[in-house]
Amino acid sequence: MMNFPGSGILKGMVVTARNMIGSYFDRAHAKRLITEQYPEERPTLPEASRSFPFLVFDGQDPEAGMRCVACKICEKECPPQCIFIEQDRDANGKLLRRPKIFDIDISVCMGCQICVESCPFESIRMDNIYEMSSCDRFGSLVIHKGQLLKSNEYYRSINPTEAAETDARIEAARIKKAAAAKVAAEKVAAARAAAAAKAAAEQAAQPPSEPEQPAP
């Protein structure tokens, strides 16, 4: 293009015009109109995106499959102290290994993921939901156990990589536990067998005789 006084203005005008026309016609071009029209178009969130924690359960029944054992580690670790746990008791008042109350105040939660990292039971995980507005400042921002419990399938759907890792870890732990149990059972069986054998041997060494009746 020729250079004369004022030609820079014309070049600039051409650039803006090209952008305007391009925004209407080369829509496939990924660099133009990158705005997502939010309620209609949803972003595909990356796996690592996270908002607030949730509780994972296995199987179909949330209460039965709950992984949480109410150990309260997450409650103690939580920096802004937004978790509240109360352990369940049975009819006799004996403590059970599951929570009766598990509340997370998401108006306080800062999404730091420390609860997830501290949980030894792979029970608490980060969710990626982001539409959590409510008309109420207090009640509906405290999420209770029923809302927090989500299935392992859901976890697999939002974060496949980490869910697979968790599943593998749980499976490995289960196999190890089963093996240990088997070893222990074998040991018990062996001990029992040995004891039985010893008893048999002792019996064999001492032929049975009539116990002497003490003379009256």
């Binding site: 006084p5 650039v15 305007m20 391009g22």
Partner: protein, 416 residues
Amino acid sequence: MNFLENLPLATKKFILDLVEWVCGWFCSKLGIQLPGWVMPALLTLVSILIVIVALIAVFMVMFALMSVFERKILARMQNRYGPNRVGFFRWRLCGLFQPVADGIKMLTKEDIVPRGADKIVHFLAPIVMVAPALILPVILPYGRGMVPIELSSGILFFFALGAGTELAVFMAGWSSNNKYSVMGAMRAIAQMISYELPLVMSAVVVALVAGTLSPNGIVEAQGGLSFGFLPNWFVFTPWGFVACLLFYIGALAESNRSPFDLPEGESELVAGHLTEYSGFKYAIFFMAEYVGMFAINGLLVTLFLGGYQAPFAFLDFIPSWCWFFGKLAFLAFTMVWVRATMPRFRIDQMMQFAWKLMLPMSFAALISAATWYYTGRGLLGWALSILIVGVPYLILGYFCFTRRHTADNRRYLFSE
């Protein structure tokens, strides 16, 4: 398409006839004998009212459409969508109802007057601003025989009235009792007075060639073709092209639009003279700005782009008023285009540009036009007039506005 061409005038005549008939019917019903002067006076009044209502309605609708289309075009030029939500119930209509939402918002906002403000002047400033802006469009010829007020010196009237804007801007700035307002107002005064001169000079060029100050006469002078293919519009002559550009730049500056939006430059002054205005007064300032922009663009159409005339005779089937508003819409679009393209001037660049380039160029255009006119509008005239505007432009461009005069040989001590 004679029907469409005559539609506005026919509507007006129909309403007048209706009023006359209704009045006559009532009088005969009530048995009153009106004096002879009543009916013509009434019809004149109604005729004036029709023109006022039509003008205000048209310009308000254009203001509303402009406010949404400006945002949309600007957004498209920056690869965004722009407003596309506000619609009518569940029909979104590409956000076309955005101005309605804006208007409701503006009307329901609190009207805050600062405690230290000069309350009367603060109240009067938007009125003084909007009144001339709404009167300005009356002199423009919108179509064949469609001039609201036929003034033989309409151009003069336009500039005389248009200068009132400066007063209003300074009233707004001064009465707000705010340093940003005063600074913005002073910048606005400096800018408007500087650019008034090339603006009027480039209109003088047209008046010189057309030999009249009446807008309608100027439009008539641009009819026909020269050399058999070129419409006789003044923009298609060397001097007219230059004067048109000068007028356009002056119009940008007069209506405070980017890149001349220094008076309300939000990065330096909060909002210039608008800082202390809110609610409806703020909306009125904006309305005045936009209507003033349409008015001055309409004058540009009248002076240089052949007014309501079609470029070629075979395009005459499109009504003349459509041509006028089409050209106006094109100019409004280019103003948005310029706004999307250029950054804001620095204040010293702005003054330099007015006094060192635009003023000499407007004198050159005047001499060029005179040469063109007196050498008989032939090829010789074309050559001479191109020479007369071209040489000063190149000299000014290469020697007065080169990079040597700007601070680009800055030395970076640490960053390199």
